[in-house]
Symmetry: C2
Subunit: 253 residues, 2 copies
DNA sequence: CGTAGAATTGACCGCGGTCAAGTCGCGTGG
DNA sequence: CCACGCGACTTGACCGCGGTCAATTCTACG
């Protein structure tokens, strides 16, 4: 039970990082980062984990393929792209990660990362080491389920993207992406209509499975229809409901 | 530590299911089902879990959307398809599961299944309940990592499919699928060249993100090239290396 | 200024979806 | 026994979406 001992200390008491105590309890992102039904006591126990903070500058990698897996990460500030490097050296983006979202869950499968995570702007992450994950697993019943939950969410997230790429036209895909970003911004208190895209068109087309020119064409198409106002990487959603209608067209056959 | 007590009993000793003792140790599928680096003692501890067996007949569901999540499953016999039901009532297949492979990991995200799993032929599964998963998490260090590992593998599996649908042509996708099945059959001691597809063309095209007619066309195309001999759902791979070359064409631009 | 990268726009065309007809195997019933 | 229907699969003709190639604009930066 020695691993549990650390849970019983008063948060922010006799540790060197006393000034950073109660990291999770005080974090404004905890509603996004953690499964919703976590009890307050459980969150307080998370504070006892001495979670490392790490800054990552724009265009720098948080991890790369074949890096040793040491931790999973939660974004505190900034935006990341994550994905996999194919054998032909081309990167395929499989996700964008806003503050409060997790990174590196695919690393849990083995000892080496098979993908990459890159900061799209100056960013900061919380790193939860493997040792700390083990502590979580040995913790109270409320905490034991945290890791499987988070990984389950990751699986679901991938399935959503899969469904997007399979059934939908390029226009529907871009609309779905914008609505998705809008909802995620809203979830963290940002405007659901004013979007500043941190990623390049190249990243976007890699993620959405289409060509750079097509992304461009679809932006202008949606703009022509009065759903968006696009100015480079700044996108203003004029008609959010109309955009949602684009995603699920009424197909009859 | 009470949850650990059951690990210390002798496998197959004083339990009602004595005749089924040492389920995992004696299972010929354990090399596929479990992470490879699991120690023999750890596998023996798994035997102490009273794992339920369950038969599922052809075309019957193992679980469906909105079913309560009670367990994850390992295929013992038969083949399953799994996927998600879209709001327009169409099913999208996201995976096929051969003996030794796991099912229902997406359910760990919440209390209700969001997808379905259906038997393609008469099948049998091992069901590992949530309570047993919790016991695993509290178990020895070797076992604590099992669940994150398996979920990590699931995430990776989805990423592979994602990459397949994104970058590849329909021809490359079908070739990749056949090579994948070939490798998985080989891993469980079956012939890597003689394949009997348990799934319909409709399931296949749903999985590969193309239309039924296109699947048919690609089968005949690969056959015309001398890579396959196709007879309904029986596929004989004539030139496995040639098939692998189809997957990764040398693109220069 | 000159150069490079990011983004947009246009012209062209091929892959793969759509529609339609045809084949094969199989169970059902007259 | 064949007729019939049904579902699974195949094959062919057509065409539209989106990829390819190329030119242009615009901003950033040295």
């Amino acid at each position: 039970m020695s691993t549990l001992a650390m849970f019983h200390q008063v948060p922010g008491s006799h540790t060197a990082e006393a000034t950073e105590g109660a990291l999770c309890t005080n974090c404004h992102l905890k509603g996004i980062c953690l499964p919703v039904d976590l009890k307050r006591q459980d969150v307080q126990r998370l504070d006892a984990l001495k979670i490392d903070r790490r800054r990552v500058k724009e265009r720098q990698h948080l991890y790369q393929p074949s890096d040793e897996v040491r931790a999973i990460f939660a974004v505190r500030r900034g935006t990341f792209k994550s994905g996999r490097r194919r054998q032909d050296e081309t990167d395929h983006v499989t996700g964008f990660h806003l503050p409060g979202e997790l990174l590196g869950l695919d690393g849990l499968a083995g000892h080496e990362h098979i993908g990459f995570a890159t900061a799209l702007d100056d960013a900061e992450v919380c790193a939860i080491s493997h040792a700390q994950l083990t502590d979580l697993a040995s913790g109270t019943p409320g905490l034991q389920r945290v890791i499987p939950r988070l990984l389950g969410r990751e699986v679901v997230r991938q399935q959503e993207l899969l469904a997007l790429l399979r059934g939908k036209s390029v226009e529907e895909r871009l609309a779905a992406f914008l609505v998705d970003i809008s909802l995620r911004q809203q979830a963290r208190g940002c405007s659901p209509t004013e979007i500043h895209l941190q990623m390049s068109r190249a990243d976007l087309c890699s993620y959405l499975g289409m060509k750079l020119e097509t992304v461009s064409r679809m932006f202008t198409l949606l703009q022509r229809r009065g759903l968006l106002v696009v100015d480079k990487r700044h996108v203003q959603i004029v008609d959010l409901e109309g955009l949602k209608l684009v995603i699920d067209p009424v197909r009859m056959h």
